[in-house]
């Protein structure tokens, strides 16, 4: 029984929590853009890839120079620079691309198509600089708690491992989300952003500068995207195409939670991540501890092959769209 619980923790709960935190950070970025700029940003996955790429390049430079954080990955030092890189790119894009359409008050779907063009350009840039291959940049201690150590300590058959990157992901995500909510709820700029998101015209009447709100939004998005991307890259590996593919679970998370709602984005991220991991993980091991021997399943009891993980986010998305199109937390659906 305890073994089953430990196996569940080790193979489902911990990875899904880390993945969920990464998705939640990504979905927060999408939802912020949706709330303030009012379009679905298809370039978000590639923004994440770009920020991560800058982080990786600096990490390599630091590693070559012999700088390290001891047990923690060096990428944490490089991350602020990655954020700056992504922020510069986003602000430049806003200045030369999005601002024109904002002034025209173009329809949201036009902005979506524009973001598609931006996606092409970011994608090309990232591939141009770092190539299309897998890049590993994690260093430092691999495990906080290794499976063997846990087995010796507890005397159970199943080991429980906690990778450093998973712990860092969860801790960083909590800090970032807390800071973001403090910013949105307590500071003047944050409040003006929420006012702008709720009702643009009223916000303009009360003297809120739209360009400033938009600029702050892009800065926040750059930070969220780079942090999400770097954490994902540390936890798994960095490959530009994977980041593009993350677009689907991230959008699913944002829509499931309710587009435009930050709390919804976080909830959606964890829902998608837990569903994805639980459905594509072979449950045989866990069941074999729980069920009497005669009942032990013959197959792997894997509900869906790993290749179909996109199907999971997709089906959740469809169910939510059918039953509750505004999402769980009442986002804005027009």
């Amino acid at each position: 029984m305890l073994n089953a619980l430990v196996a569940l923790m080790n193979f489902v709960v911990i990875p899904a929590t880390a993945y969920g935190a990464q998705l939640a950070l990504g979905a927060l970025g999408v939802t912020l853009i949706y709330g303030i700029l009012r379009f679905s940003n298809f370039a978000h996955g590639d923004t994440m890839a770009f920020g991560t790429m800058v982080t990786i390049l600096l990490t390599w430079a630091l590693q070559a120079a012999g700088v390290s954080l001891g047990p923690l990955p060096t990428a944490l030092i490089a991350m602020p620079v990655g954020i700056l890189g992504a922020a510069a790119l986003l602000l430049l894009t806003d200045r030369f691309v999005y601002r024109f359409y904002r002034a025209q008050r173009a329809a949201p779907v036009i902005l979506v198509i524009v973001s598609m063009g931006v996606m092409f350009v970011y994608n090309g840039l990232t591939r141009f600089v770092i190539g299309v291959d897998d890049q590993r940049f994690a260093d430092g201690e691999r495990f906080i708690l290794s499976a063997n150590a846990f087995r010796d300590w507890s005397g159970l058959d199943e080991g429980l491992a906690l990778r450093t990157t998973q712990a860092i992901t969860i801790v960083t995500a909590i800090i970032v989300v807390a800071a973001l909510f403090w910013f949105l709820n307590r500071t003047r700029t944050g409040k003006s952003m929420r006012a702008f998101s709720d009702n643009e015209d009223l916000a303009l009447l009360s003297g809120i500068s739209p360009e400033r709100v938009v600029m702050v939004t892009w800065l926040l998005v750059a930070a969220l995207a780079t942090i999400a991307g770097t954490l994902y890259g540390l936890d798994k590996t960095f490959k530009p195409f994977t980041y593009f593919q993350l677009l689907l679970p991230i959008f699913a998370a944002a829509i499931v939670g309710g587009l435009g709602s930050p709390i919804g984005a976080i909830a959606g991220g964890f829902i998608i991540a837990f569903a994805e991991v639980a459905i594509t993980y072979p449950l045989r091991k866990i069941l074999s501890y729980l069920l009497p021997e005669a009942w032990e399943p013959a197959g792997l009891v894997q509900l869906l092959a790993t290749e179909y993980k996109f199907a999971v986010s997709f089906i959740i998305l469809i169910v939510v769209l059918l039953i509750r199109p505004t999402g769980l937390f009442k986002g804005k659906a027009v």
Binding site: I110, I113, G117, N123, G124, V132, Y308, S313, L321, A333
Partner: protein, 433 residues
């Protein structure tokens, strides 16, 4: 400049580019570009139907194209007898059970009282899924075990490959119906996300369902609608024909086979273009544009907006599926791992936007132009980078890196073209009116 001037002008430009390619790089590569250009133009017509006529944002073009490819395999490949004996019936039964489960779930959801209908539907799905897997898994293992190096799949029906084109359209239409039923009528972004998702799922199915499409082992040697190159080169009549023209037999065979494809594809393109033009100028086309321009007003006039959207969404997707079947016929093989969203979804969008959304001629011209650019940017980018790196010191790491990255110039260029057209000429090369 009016459209009656723009259309011949840009068509002439396309012809000039392809003829130029033929003179500089050889007729073989020019015909290669022309044939894929024809397929691209058909895909662009399909997307233009959805976006230009009705304003529907479909980013799952890749999925519909891939379904067309699957249709080619299912229609044209010979059936694999031993595999059918091993598990064909089991797989058919499992498919029927799966479909029955979905129907039962929908009926339960409709019939059960509101309080526990969610749980009842869930229970039906769980039970149905368990039965489905218990029938499906052994059948699939049996089929995939039949000579996995050469077959390991059920094969197709062994019918002429041209039949696969309409069937590809039908498959795509079916997928479009499912998507449209759920996502149309909600806000436009939701359709985009839903189509993005279905495309990824279709590719995942093609990659991992070995019994259906051999997965990543690919399907080779799909029968061709034109004579085989090797047979043609051995045909005495053809050898005499080639020597009359004064070209080598190999070149003559290659070029005449490609011309065969060109002729067949041109017939399809012209037929579809005529149909699309008739549709655009019919009362139905006017209604579509009215809905696109103001859904509320059209709804108030009694038009069923969601139904009309569903209709045109299915039609456009079917055209994309047909083009996908034609493309796989041209390649003669199905390689699921080559389906990349940037190439098969977003590039088609660049074609439609650059050509002129809402104008069928524009979409076709955009298809040819952007395809030509997509093919030619790579050598051009390499030449440009070679010129830049020649200024750098011999053997510098940066120069090597730049030369190695030349292939990625394509995405950058396409993105820039799209952004520039959207910014400075949002109506495209050939505007709607």
């Amino acid at each position: 400049m009016s459209n009656s001037l723009r259309i011949p002008l840009f068509s002439g430009l396309v012809a000039l580019l392809i003829l130029g390619t033929g003179m500089v790089q050889g007729w073989n590569s020019a015909l290669l570009i022309l044939n894929m250009g024809l397929v691209s133009a058909i895909m662009a017509l399909g997307v233009n139907l959805q976006w230009g006529f009705a304003g529907l944002f479909n980013v799952g073009v890749m999925g519909f194209v891939a379904l067309g490819g699957l249709a080619t395999v299912l229609i044209a490949m010979d059936p694999v007898g031993p595999a059918w004996e091993a598990g064909g019936l089991g797989i058919l039964a499992a498919m029927a059970l799966g479909a029955a489960t979905i129907v039962a779930a929908i009926l339960t959801f409709r019939a059960a009282p509101a309080r526990w209908r969610g749980w009842a539907t869930f229970a039906v799905i769980v039970v149905g899924f368990t039965i489905y897997r218990s029938v499906f898994d052994p059948a699939r293992t049996a089929v995939e075990a039949v000579d996995p190096a050469a077959t390991g799949f059920l094969g197709g029906l062994g019918l002429p490959v041209v039949l696969a084109w309409p069937v590809g359209g039908l498959l795509a239409a079916g997928a479009a119906w499912i998507i449209g039923k759920t996502a149309l009528g909600l806000r436009s972004d939701y359709l985009a996300i839903a189509t993005l998702g279905i495309a990824e799922i279709i590719i995942a199915i093609l990659k991992s369902e070995d019994w259906l499409s051999r997965g990543v082992k690919n399907v080779n040697n799909i029968p061709r609608p034109v004579p085989d190159a090797v047979e043609l080169q051995a045909d005495p009549g053809f050898i005499a024909f080639a020597s009359d023209w004064g070209v080598s037999v190999v070149d003559a065979a290659n070029i005449s086979i490609k011309l065969g494809y060109t002729a067949m594809f041109s017939v399809v393109l012209v037929a579809l273009l005529i149909l699309a033009q008739l549709a655009l100028n019919s009362p139905w086309g006017r209604m579509m544009r009215a809905i696109r321009d103001n859904e509320t007003a059209a709804g108030a006039m009694g038009k069923d907006v969601t139904r009309r959207h569903l209709q045109i969404f299915i039609l456009g997707s079917a055209v994309c599926g047909m083009a996908g079947a034609m493309m796989t016929t041209l390649d003669g093989l199905l390689v699921p791992s080559t389906y990349q969203p940037l190439r098969y979804t977003f590039l088609i969008w660049v074609m439609v936007i650059v050509g002129g959304s809402g104008n069928n001629y524009g979409a076709v011209i955009g298809g040819f132009l952007v395809w030509w650019l997509w093919v030619q940017v790579e050598p051009m980018g390499a030449a440009l980078l070679a010129a830049v790196t020649s200024l750098m010191p011999e053997g510098s790491a940066l120069a090597d890196h730049l030369m190695g990255s030349a292939a990625h110039m394509r995405l950058l260029t396409m993105g820039l073209v799209l952004l520039l057209v959207l910014r400075f000429s949002p109506r495209g090369l050939v505007p709607e009116r």
